[in-house]
């Protein structure tokens, strides 16, 4: 009972806090009295919660509203610029990061090339990036959110394995906390991207969403009922190593036929190289070639999209999640690639399951990961539930 009691009190406080924040967020110029009426919480509880939020800098008073007879009440709003968040994206050849305000606006952006892929080099580059961001603000900083490629244990703050950074069982959160004395949240880059697109991408999505991030590796972020679903171990969305029927290519994981060996960025470059040998193909040159209606390039792109569609039929189909957003390097192939993904999906699932599925492109490119990593800090530190900003 002790445990239940604690959990219940915790739940109640968290619940009240979320309720109050939601009302303030949904109605920027509300008052304590209105909040009490809307939430059915007592005036005292509302005042306490609001006081806490003001101390934390999440909410601010903006003077009295219009009087309806009695004393005019003081209006409240979210204090968007009272605190900043640091969001970082480690998934590309360059590291990028930004100072983000409480409404998801990027206030300052820094990019650094990755000089070396050694594990300590990568950490030192990351710290340099964060140092530069922090040097530029005198606002209180809520914390540091990092989106990194590979298998991440968010709960323990450990990068379990990130090939491109040469990190294995790397206690990144602890190291950053020790250095910056700030809350740190680390998560898989595709998961962070999913949060970013869900919260700030202005997609007509409520509740459930699958965001698939297609670079050299392929990962998904799964939003279920407005929250990131990470699974029991934190690895939900790891779809890069699903077996694709008919695919026999060797994968860096040691098996054959994995999705990323046919549908990822390296995979399409390799396919093109095999069919059209010569100087090495780059993503730039292949995009140009496909746009120029080269039949070989188009076939390579279609094959990659088709395989991805089959894999998505397993994930999104089995979950019956009807909104899918695609992000990452392959997005550059545009509509022909998207059409192939759709075709793969429709061919490999029951027509009724595929019928209402909408696949579209992400809206935020690399910023999605930065924004998602920062939004996750709001959830972890304020119980603030991925509030979509008013549009």
């Amino acid at each position: 009972m002790q445990r239940l009691q604690k959990a219940t009190q915790q739940n109640t406080r968290q619940h009240n806090r979320e309720l109050v924040l939601k009302v303030i967020q949904a109605n920027q110029h509300t008052s304590r009295a209105e909040i009490a009426r809307f939430t059915q919480l007592t005036r005292t509880t509302v005042s306490e919660v609001v006081a806490g939020l003001m101390i934390e800098g999440l909410v601010e008073e903006i003077g009295p509203g219009s009087s309806q007879g009695g004393k005019p009440s003081i209006r409240l709003q979210m204090a968007a610029d009272s605190r900043y968040l640091v969001g970082v994206n480690l998934s590309q050849e360059k590291f990028s990061g930004a100072l983000v305000n409480l409404r998801g606006e990027l206030k300052e952006t820094v990019e650094l090339p990755v000089i070396d892929t050694g594990s300590s080099q990568a950490l030192s580059q990351l710290c340099q990036l964060i140092d530069r961001l922090l040097a530029n603000t005198r606002r209180p900083v809520v914390g540091i959110g990092v989106g990194a490629p590979g298998l991440i244990n968010t709960q323990e703050g450990v990068v379990v394995h990130a090939v491109n950074l040469d990190w294995r069982s790397f206690p990144l959160a602890r190291l950053l906390k020790e250095r910056y004395h700030l809350p740190v949240s680390i998560m898989n880059d595709s998961q962070a991207t999913a949060i970013g697109e869900y919260v700030y991408g202005k997609h007509a999505v409520t509740g459930n969403l699958v965001v698939v991030n297609v670079n050299q590796g392929i990962g998904a972020g799964i939003i279920i009922q407005g929250r990131l679903f990470q699974g029991d171990g934190g690895y939900a969305g790891e779809i890069g190593h699903i077996g694709v029927p008919g695919n026999r290519r060797a994968c860096r994981c040691g098996r054959t036929g994995c999705l990323e060996t046919i549908a990822g960025v390296q995979a399409v470059l390799q396919s093109m190289q095999e069919r059209s040998p010569g100087p090495p193909w780059s993503l730039d040159s292949l995009v140009e070639c496909a746009a120029g209606a080269d039949p070989i390039a188009q076939a390579v792109v279609a094959e990659a999209g088709q395989a991805l569609g089959v894999a998505l039929s397993h994930l999104a189909g089995a979950l019956n999640i009807q909104s899918i957003i695609l992000t990452g390097g392959l997005v550059r192939f545009g509509q022909p690639w998207l059409a192939a993904v759709q075709q793969g999906l429709h061919q490999s699932t029951l027509p009724r399951l595929a019928a209402d599925t909408r696949i579209s492109f992400g809206a935020l490119d690399l910023r999605a990961c930065i924004l998602g990593a920062s939004a996750h800090l709001l959830l972890e530190n304020y119980g603030l539930l991925f509030l979509k900003p008013e549009t």
Copy 2:
């Protein structure tokens, strides 16, 4: 704001109700004062909620507890037998149903053979079953919960397509409501089975669970954070038509290579018939033969299990849900089949994702579907959240 206001009030009431029920459930002999202390709700709110629960028959007073100085407070408990639920399983050759109490105990069970598969025949058999169950109780009945095979739209109460019952766009919930004037909840049989196993199966699972029901068709029920996840259209868990690499068999859905053509009950019988022709194999004879160490039968079973494991690697692997429970006809092949499923799973996913996955058998056979369908009524009608009974 109007909508938010309504939603917020609704949420608060629902939340308070769930809190109070949880406390009563977790501590059978609690009092109103204790509940107020634990939940931080006001005494008035607690008294109101408890009064409502008593009127509905969910909670009862059991006399004064021990005094701690002042007036002894009245103790409360869940009233397990104050109301019954009707749970029905339509997934087999026979229809089965039961009266279930609020703790998930089966009070009365009825089975009826299905005489014909015509759609009106099936309905009339179902009504006969429900009539017989209702004739046997003078307790108030909360409602009727039905688990049916096929694609079900739970929200609208429509059987979208159930092959074995010959129902298409069949408004089952409306028809039963009109006849019985009771709340009706219909859901996919695998989803109902998942709820049943999760709530009443005494598995060491909290939060996330995938239950895979393997009969002629193959379906899964996905429990996420203690709730059934149905997806946007209600079809979450439809994995029977996932394509299996290397499988070329024609499926009743019109495509080839679907999971159920290699891993379902008909599939193993067909495989055995092809390799060991003669009088038609039945599940009984094949189970016996496999248990007798017949190498052909064992190979057929292993092949089916292996294919299922691959499909599970897509679903459970991509969701990173580590608890998988298997139910349905193929469970009769026991450990050798389970080992093949495990092998398929491990071969087709990253070692780290498969490492912590536990696959086990269901504990409740056909009762799981009945119990799950009835438990869902508690959620829909009382906001009662799949409470696991105290053990």
